[in-house]
């Protein structure tokens, strides 16, 4: 342990001093996020600009970004890439309930079919669309709900804050999956949208807590006090001065939630609360439905699971490296 540390120390000190200056530049340049983005490199470097400078060379971030871009491209292009229609069942003759419920691979169908004789490869490719939809909308709805609650609590403080935060506490005290399952049980008929809403509700208290924390920190900041002293309207202070500056951690969280939303949707399908209509495939749904054939045909579960893992990993890699880049403490 000694030899690993000794040569490190002088370098560490120098780097730390440089980093302090870097931090100072970032904070002085970045009064507001909008402003920070426009500051050029010759003067102070804004928080976003300096974060980007570090991210550009970070292999973890680039891997995550590459996976995400590939995933989005696949979702957009899959109808043209997929060899067959995902809802069509060309292999239905090969499906027999007694001996062989799952058609194996054959020419033109490299991964074989599913229990309804549909081409597995095409369903995996097209499945990226609904998966992206679930991830994006669940995150978006959770974000909107959390932003509203968190802004109200953080901006007004006092008893409004207490009431909102007690509700948030209760939501947080119910284990996330149980909350999602309870919400989806409220729907008369499960569909893709009930899955999305159930997954989104789980994220609301997390976003709310996060935003409230950074809004509270903003309330005492100089630029907010200055705006208040200048007689800027309360709503304008909240929306134009406090909210934009509190968004950093929220954006990071949103990136991470894209991954958990897809995983949670898969868990709901596994518990039998997913979207029963499988004409438009979704990876979580495919994984959930594969459970019944899992001992004889585990490949039905492996392929969608692998897709989910890779995509979730992509979002997580991106989110974690964003967090590190935006956190002044971890700039080392």
């Amino acid at each position: 342990m000694n030899d690993s540390q000794m040569p490190d120390r002088p370098r560490g000190l120098g780097a730390r001093r440089k980093q302090r200056i870097d931090d100072l530049a970032a904070t002085s340049g970045g009064t507001t996020v909008a402003e920070a983005g426009t500051v050029d490199d010759s003067g102070g470097v804004g928080l976003i600009a300096s974060a980007w400078r570090r991210l550009r060379r970070n292999p973890i971030f680039l891997t995550g970004l590459a996976i995400t871009v590939a995933f989005v491209l696949l979702a957009v292009l899959s109808p043209w890439i997929a060899p067959h229609d995902a809802a069509d069942n060309p292999l239905i003759d090969k499906v027999s309930r007694q001996s062989n419920p799952i058609p194996g691979p054959e020419p033109g169908f490299p991964l074989g079919g599913d229990d309804s004789g549909r081409d597995l490869l095409s369903r995996l490719l097209v499945g990226s669309q609904q998966t992206l939809l679930v991830g994006v909308f669940a995150t978006l709805f959770g974000l909107i709900g959390g932003l509203t609650l968190g802004t109200v609590a953080g901006a007004f403080g006092g008893w409004v804050d207490s009431v909102v935060m007690r509700i948030v506490d209760v939501m947080l005290s119910i284990p996330s999956l149980l909350l999602a399952v309870s919400i989806s049980a409220l729907a008369a008929e499960p569909s893709q949208w009930t899955v999305i809403i159930a997954v989104a509700v789980v994220q609301v208290p997390i976003f709310a807590r996060l935003l409230r924390g950074s809004m509270l920190a903003q309330r005492g900041k100089d630029h907010v006090l200055a705006a208040r002293a200048l007689g800027v309207k309360r709503s304008a202070i909240i929306l134009r001065h406090m909210l934009p500056n509190s968004l950093g951690p929220v954006i990071v969280q949103a990136t991470l939630v894209l991954a958990t939303a897809i995983i949670d949707a898969a868990a709901l399908s596994f518990l039998g609360l997913g979207n029963p209509d499988d004409s438009k495939p979704e990876w979580g749904q495919m994984l959930g439905q594969a459970q019944q054939y899992i001992y004889d045909n585990p490949h039905l579960a492996f392929y969608p699971a692998a897709c989910i893992i890779v995509v979730a990993l992509g979002f997580t890699l991106m989110g974690e490296s964003l967090r590190e880049a935006l956190d002044p403490k971890s700039r080392r």
Binding site: S4, V170, A185, L271, P298, I308, L313, T316
Partner: protein, 335 residues
């Protein structure tokens, strides 16, 4: 200190009160009301009227809520309609709770025992191969759906290799039961083979369930050790020639573990959610599996009680963690 505990207890009461209102409202908001939800296809006007009467659904809402609350406070949540029909929800809980506690404790122990030393080493050798690879493993741990990991472990180690049991908690049906914790029971009654057997049943579900808290505890330990390593008092301690063991124990770990304690408390919620999935894959017979059945069979008395208990466990554990934290770190009390 006493004031701190009293304030936290008051907050706890408020949270539980709001939770009871939510649970009450939730049951009434079910599609078509609780009666059609429970009767389903079999609903006839007579059976509907009987159930409506039995649940007191024809009375005003505040009266209904009051009755729900007073009964709930006496531990009476009604009779199961689907999981184990005829049994009270409370007896189902008492029967199954030890299994989930046993599994969660094993999972948490596994996670803590591996994640904290690994987090320390990763931070100490920052950007080394060990650091980078353990970060990647912890990130993959987050990205893999728990139920898929559980299935994978079961498929490889139980079905293909046959090293460990496929499902359940025990394969010795006549083992003496004392506490409901099978491993502990085996040790207490000196039925060593029963304890060993119960332990073997815990390995695979334990590893699957540990994947969630492992990733979180590892990352927080690593970040926290990194922060403490940079502190002046650590440098001073090293400079004045204290041994590495003393610096590590007294200066680094004592301070770095504070945020880790909080993180472990917060993981209890994730453990309970993960238990639903893991127990379902392994037919483990705890409250997680009961929750899955209760949702599938629309057994609302059991559901209400189990969701309430899950939330209560989470809140109580975190209260304990906060108190522990205040004992360890005097700075917290004054906040």
């Amino acid at each position: 200190m006493l004031k701190f505990i009293i304030r936290r207890l008051l907050q706890l009461v408020v949270v539980l009160f709001v939770l009871s209102i939510l649970l009450f409202a939730w049951l009434r908001a079910l599609p078509g009301g609780v009666v059609s939800a429970m009767l389903g296809e079999r609903a006839t006007p007579e059976s509907r009227a009987r159930l409506t009467e039995a649940f007191g659904l024809n009375e005003p809402l505040p009266v209904q809520y009051w009755r729900f609350l007073t009964r709930a406070l006496q531990g009476d949540f009604g009779v199961s309609t689907g999981v184990q029909p005829g049994k009270t929800a409370t007896s189902i809980l008492i029967e199954r709770f030890p299994a989930t506690v046993e599994l969660s404790v094993v999972a948490l122990l596994l996670a803590v025992v591996v994640a904290i030393p690994l987090g320390y080493l990763a931070a100490k050798k920052r950007a080394s191969f060990l650091d980078n690879s353990s970060i990647v493993v912890s990130l993959i741990g987050v990205a893999v759906p728990v139920f898929f990991l559980a299935f994978l472990l079961k498929y490889v180690f139980a079905i293909k290799l046959g090293w460990l049991p496929v499902s359940g908690r025990s394969s010795i049906p006549d083992a003496t039961q004392v506490t409901g914790f099978f491993v502990l029971d085996g040790l207490l009654t000196r039925e060593w083979d029963a304890a060993w057997d119960a332990l073997k049943h815990l390995v695979l579900p334990g590893i699957a369930l540990a994947s969630i808290p492992f990733a979180m505890i590892f990352r927080i330990t690593r970040a926290s050790v990194l922060e403490v390593l940079d502190e002046d008092f650590v440098r001073t301690a090293q400079a004045k020639g204290l041994s590495h063991r003393v610096v590590r124990g007294r200066h680094i770990m004592r301070n770095a573990l504070l945020p880790v304690i909080t993180a472990v408390g917060l993981q209890v919620g994730a453990l309970l959610a993960g238990a639903v999935l893991t127990e379902t894959v392994f037919n483990f017979g705890g409250i997680g599996e009961a929750l899955k059945f209760a949702f599938t069979l629309r057994d609302y008395p059991v559901l209400q009680l189990l969701v309430f208990v899950a939330a209560l466990t989470y809140v109580l554990v975190n209260l304990l963690v906060d108190i522990l934290y205040a004992v360890v770190d005097p700075r917290v009390r004054t906040r």
